[in-house]
């Protein structure tokens, strides 16, 4: 079809996440038990986290809050663009770490935004806490109740030791609480939060409209081509362009997906984004491993995906279409693609 189209999609909180990451920037972040210090190490890992997060949850959003000196402030607002977050994280390396963090103020700041998020999306807060204390203007247990009633899930990664208030906070809100052992363990724990958390039974599902704009490339030779500014770059300095993604509803121009249309509010995504999000809900079955000799007797000696010769000791068979893959392709299919190419192919053919 030449016209871009919109679809109504059933969505649940595991598909659309709203996550605030709170980064402790208090005095204890200067501790050098992570190299070169806790802050630099954390920010570096956060960049990887943001990348991973948007790779796995393309239609979700993230915001970053920093807390120090008993105050909390937003580094970036809730948004779906990884580049902006990463740029801000890079800038934050020079932050001076002073005073104490405030859990209460950070949570309060986060829920001010999160509470407006619709019910079919998740509301999550991830706190990276280095300090062993928190300086709060009011009773944190009252805040816990509020968080619970708003269905906000709070998870904490501690950089020093187990702190009681964190244990209670995460237990009450259904989040997880881990304390790091070293840098690699820190990375491992952080990456756990890339995957969406298991949904509670009470979470609602709902139908929302989504646009699937097609990418058009205009050429100067085309008489109908009208140069347009990208809506998402209105505030930045990039100039008008001829092509891009046009919203199926209002024809606003965007250079990147996914995005929420600034004019009509429609969520614009591309099909692979949705597929990547869906794989948490419908994971691809593991392929069956078997020794290679068996199959060579049957005459199969090529991998269905890369068409390379099957040289390794074992091969992998898709349980539904019985196609055979080599070990590299098996890893690629399960880690990145999340669907069996052979199955897809046979579906479109029939």
């Amino acid at each position: 079809p030449t016209e871009p189209f919109a679809l109504i999609i059933c969505i649940n909180p595991r598909l659309m996440r709203h996550l605030f990451v709170v980064i402790d920037c208090s005095r204890s972040m200067e501790d050098q038990d992570l190299k070169p210090n806790r802050l630099t190490s954390t920010l570096k890992l956060m960049e990887a986290f943001i990348d991973g997060y948007f790779d796995q949850n393309p239609i979700s959003q993230v915001g970053i809050i920093t807390t120090k000196n008993k105050r909390a402030e937003k580094l970036t607002d809730l948004a779906g663009n990884p580049k902006k977050h990463i740029a801000m994280l890079k800038k934050a390396v020079d932050t001076v770490c002073v005073g104490e963090p405030s859990l209460y103020n950070s949570l309060k700041l986060a829920i001010q935004t999160l509470k407006h998020m619709p019910g079919h999306t998740s509301r999550e807060i991830l706190i990276i806490l280095s300090s062993l204390t928190t300086c709060d203007p009011a009773n944190i247990y009252e805040m816990t109740k509020t968080l619970k009633s708003l269905n906000v899930r709070v998870s904490i990664i501690g950089l020093s030791a187990e702190v009681r208030v964190c244990t209670v906070l995460t237990r009450e809100t259904g989040g997880s609480y881990h304390v790091i052992l070293d840098e690699s363990h820190f990375k491992e724990l952080l990456m756990l939060h890339v995957k969406p958390p298991p949904t509670s039974s009470s979470s609602e599902c709902s139908l929302i409209r989504m646009g699937f704009p097609q990418h058009t490339i205009g050429s100067l030779a085309d008489q109908d081509a009208k140069p347009a500014f990208s809506m998402s770059h209105l505030d930045s300095s990039s100039g008008p362009s001829l092509g891009g993604y046009f919203c199926p509803q209002c024809h606003s121009n965007y250079t990147e997906l996914p995005v929420e249309c600034k004019v009509c509010g429609l969520t614009l995504v591309s099909a692979p984004h949705l597929a990547r999000s869906f794989h948490h809900l419908f994971p691809l079955d593991a392929f069956i491993e078997s020794p290679v000799e068996e199959h060579q007797r049957n005459g199969y000696d090529f991998c269905q995906a890369c068409q390379g010769e099957l040289k390794d000791k074992s091969i992998f068979t898709c349980p539904s279409c019985r196609s055979v893959f080599c070990v590299e392709c098996d890893l690629f299919i399960h880690d990145s693609l999340h669907c069996c190419p052979s199955c897809i192919h046979s579906q479109t053919a029939s």
Partner: protein, 675 residues
């Protein structure tokens, strides 16, 4: 679960059991079988109470003729409540398993408001109450004297039992006591006068009874109905009350004379120390009071108070105290000393004379208990070295065993920091600063609560003052709030409450307290309330006290215990008590820091309980402050990793099947460390 302990069916109200609990019950059963006494040490938080209760109740059901009653003595009201709670669980389990309503009656004596005087309580199968009901002669006489001989007596948390015994037998007399006593005697005189006018027959009847002597009491003791009372010596039971104090007026006159004599003794200007025979000789020389009437004093007063039908005995506490003193001083020529101090050591200018009649031999108070009951069990988390208790309490146990905690991971990190606080160097500026640095560094790495113990209130005040001057206190306060235990009970409980609040809401706090104080003895710091305990210095008792010196001398002469051995033993049991406050169970974890290099010496280390000693290795000895910080950081991170019950199962937590495996039974026999 139902256990089979050497042929005895024991109902245990939990699904899992710790191996050391099984081992403990095994030893306990053997003690009961032998009808002897036992000393058992098992760390707190391993379910000592329920093991004790399950086994003894099972024993009672199996052999109702051999063991009729369990008398469970604990120290404080909260502890008594805990015992009752466990007992309730056990009873529910019995009801569920056997399907019949049991006819077990348990009784807890805590305070007057819960008092029940129904006669049925005499037949209770289990009695739970405070030590004092059994050890303090004044109370024991009222409460415990009718307890049957075939009872099992358990002293829980008994590491301080010798001090309780001594306190219950010691008498301190001040001017105030004498003044109040004077009033009492006046009241007595007036009452006697009144009764003489209205009901002279009553006094005559009493006189007749006294001539007959204390036959009744004697018969009772010989027929073994009552627990004997150390204030009522055997000899006087066989004799009649001497004529000099037989009539009421004469007795009151006698009391007056005795009182005047005591007053004259308090008018001293220098310290006097003398033995009981010396005191008796002096009193005979000065006011012609013989030994014999003095011995009857306590009993005679009781008789008089009964005759006069005085309802409120509490008003007469002063005169009761004096008469008890009279009886004790004339009965025991050994084991006691009299010290008269004209002023307190700290305030030599203010006259405040005190007569200490101090007991030095804890075995006197507890002797009737050991003699009367067939099994007495002494148990606690800190009883090391085990052999010292039978020596100072003068009894012969059939079992002495120490049990250790079996753990899948080490949830205790023990650090011995090489800092000095010897008496001579402890005022040293550098020592104080080192202590401050240790606390400061720890406050930055330990989450939530830290409890720090000092050796005395005075020392703590000095240190805190210098920390303030050096600015250390200010730096610590950047990490945590600071609370201080004081001698004022209300202030301390307030500080404690706020301390717990600060630990709870993530503010973090440090509690500075004193070994031997209220906090070190009775308060538990579970989980986040005590992630680290720091013991600054070795908590030796104040050795300049004359009472202590007298006691040490007595121990050396009578029990061949060297002064230094006893002092170290006493210091180490208090240190162990202090650091033991933080670990109250298997899921709990904490740092134990002994900040004094003297702890590393073999004589000190050897006197710590076995479950603490096990954690000492080369890596935890003679650490610097920096090393301690690194060790703590690593330990706290390890401990913060998720803990699952499955990890424990089969190793330190057993199901019935696992328990009954041959291999496990082998292992269990090694847990008990016999001495």
């Amino acid at each position: 679960m139902k256990l089979n302990i050497e042929g005895l069916l024991v109902y245990f109200p939990y699904d899992y059991i710790y191996p050391e609990q099984y081992s403990y019950m095994l030893e306990l059963k053997r003690t009961l079988d032998a009808k002897g006494h036992g000393v058992l040490e098992m760390p707190s938080g391993t379910g000592k109470t329920i093991s004790l209760l399950s086994l003894i109740v099972a024993y009672q059901r199996a052999f109702p003729l051999d063991v009729t009653k369990l008398i469970y003595c604990s120290r404080t009201v909260p502890e008594i409540e805990k015992v009752v709670e466990e007992l309730r669980k056990l009873m529910e389990f019995y009801a569920k398993e056997t399907g019949e309503r049991n006819n077990f009656l348990a009784l807890a004596l805590s305070s007057r408001k819960n008092l029940c005087i129904h006669p049925e309580i005499l037949h209770a199968n289990i009695v739970v109450y405070s030590y004092h009901y059994l050890l303090d002669p004044k109370i024991a006489d009222l409460v415990s004297k009718e307890l049957a001989k075939k009872s099992v007596v358990v002293f829980d948390e008994a590491h301080n039992i010798d001090n309780v015994c001594i306190d219950s037998m010691s008498v301190n007399i001040t001017r105030r006591t004498l003044d109040r006593c004077q009033n009492n005697v006046d009241t007595l005189q007036n009452t006697i006068q009144k009764i003489k006018e209205t009901d002279a027959a009553k006094l005559r009847e009493e006189y007749r009874r006294l001539v007959e002597g204390l036959k009744e009491a004697n018969v009772a003791r010989e027929t073994d109905i009552y627990l004997s009372n150390p204030v009522l010596p055997d000899e006087i039971l066989k004799e009649a009350v001497p004529g000099t104090i037989r009539t009421a007026e004469h007795f009151v006159g006698f009391l007056r004379r005795f009182l005047e004599y005591l007053k004259s003794r308090l008018r001293v200007h220098h310290v006097v120390q003398e033995s009981a025979p010396q005191f008796l000789k002096d009193i005979f020389d000065k006011v012609c009071i013989d030994r014999k009437p003095l011995r009857f004093c306590a009993e005679r007063l009781q008789s008089l108070l009964r005759t006069l039908e005085i309802a409120d005995i509490a008003d007469f506490s002063a005169v009761t105290l004096i008469s008890n003193f009279a009886t004790l001083v004339s009965t025991y020529s050994q084991g006691f000393t009299i010290i008269i101090e004209p002023f307190e050591d700290r305030t030599p200018t203010i006259a405040n004379p005190v007569l200490h009649f101090s007991c030095m031999d804890p075995s006197i108070a507890i002797k009737p208990v050991f003699q009367r009951f067939q099994s007495v069990i002494i148990t606690s988390g800190t009883l090391s070295p085990l052999d010292i208790y039978p020596r100072i309490l003068d009894f012969r146990p059939v079992t002495m065993a120490s049990f250790t905690m079996t753990l899948n991971t080490f949830n205790v990190c023990l650090c011995l920091v090489a800092l000095s606080s010897k008496f001579e160097t402890r005022e040293d500026f550098a020592v104080i600063r080192n202590y401050g640095n240790l606390l400061l560094e720890m406050s930055a790495v330990v989450p939530d609560g830290i409890v720090a113990f000092f050796t005395s209130y005075v020392y703590m005040e000095n240190i805190v003052a210098s920390w303030y001057e050096q600015g250390i206190l200010e730096n610590i306060q950047r990490n945590k709030l600071i609370f201080i235990e004081t001698q004022d009970a209300a202030e301390t409980s307030m500080a404690l409450e706020k301390y717990q609040e600060a630990c709870e809401n993530g503010r973090g706090a440090i509690l500075l307290s004193v070994a031997r104080g209220k906090v070190s003895e009775g308060i538990d710091f579970v989980h986040h309330f005590g992630r680290a305990v720091i013991m600054f210095g070795v908590p030796y008792v104040y050795t300049q006290s004359r009472i202590l010196k007298a006691r040490l001398e007595y121990l050396r002469d009578q029990f061949q215990i060297r002064e230094n051995d006893f002092l170290t033993f006493d210091a180490m049991r208090h240190a162990a008590q202090c650091v033991g406050r933080a670990i109250r169970g298997k899921t709990d974890y904490g740092l134990m820091i002994f900040a004094d290099k003297r702890y590393a010496r073999a004589d000190k280390r050897g006197k710590l309980p076995r479950w603490i000693q096990e954690h000492i290795n080369d890596g935890s000895l003679n650490l610097t402050v920096d090393e301690t910080v690194q060790l703590s950081k690593h330990f706290l991170r390890q401990m913060a990793q998720p803990f699952r019950q499955e990890d424990q199962l089969g190793l330190s937590l057993l199901t019935l099947e696992q328990l009954e495996s041959e291999e496990m039974l082998q292992k269990i026999t090694q847990i008990a460390h016999q001495t």
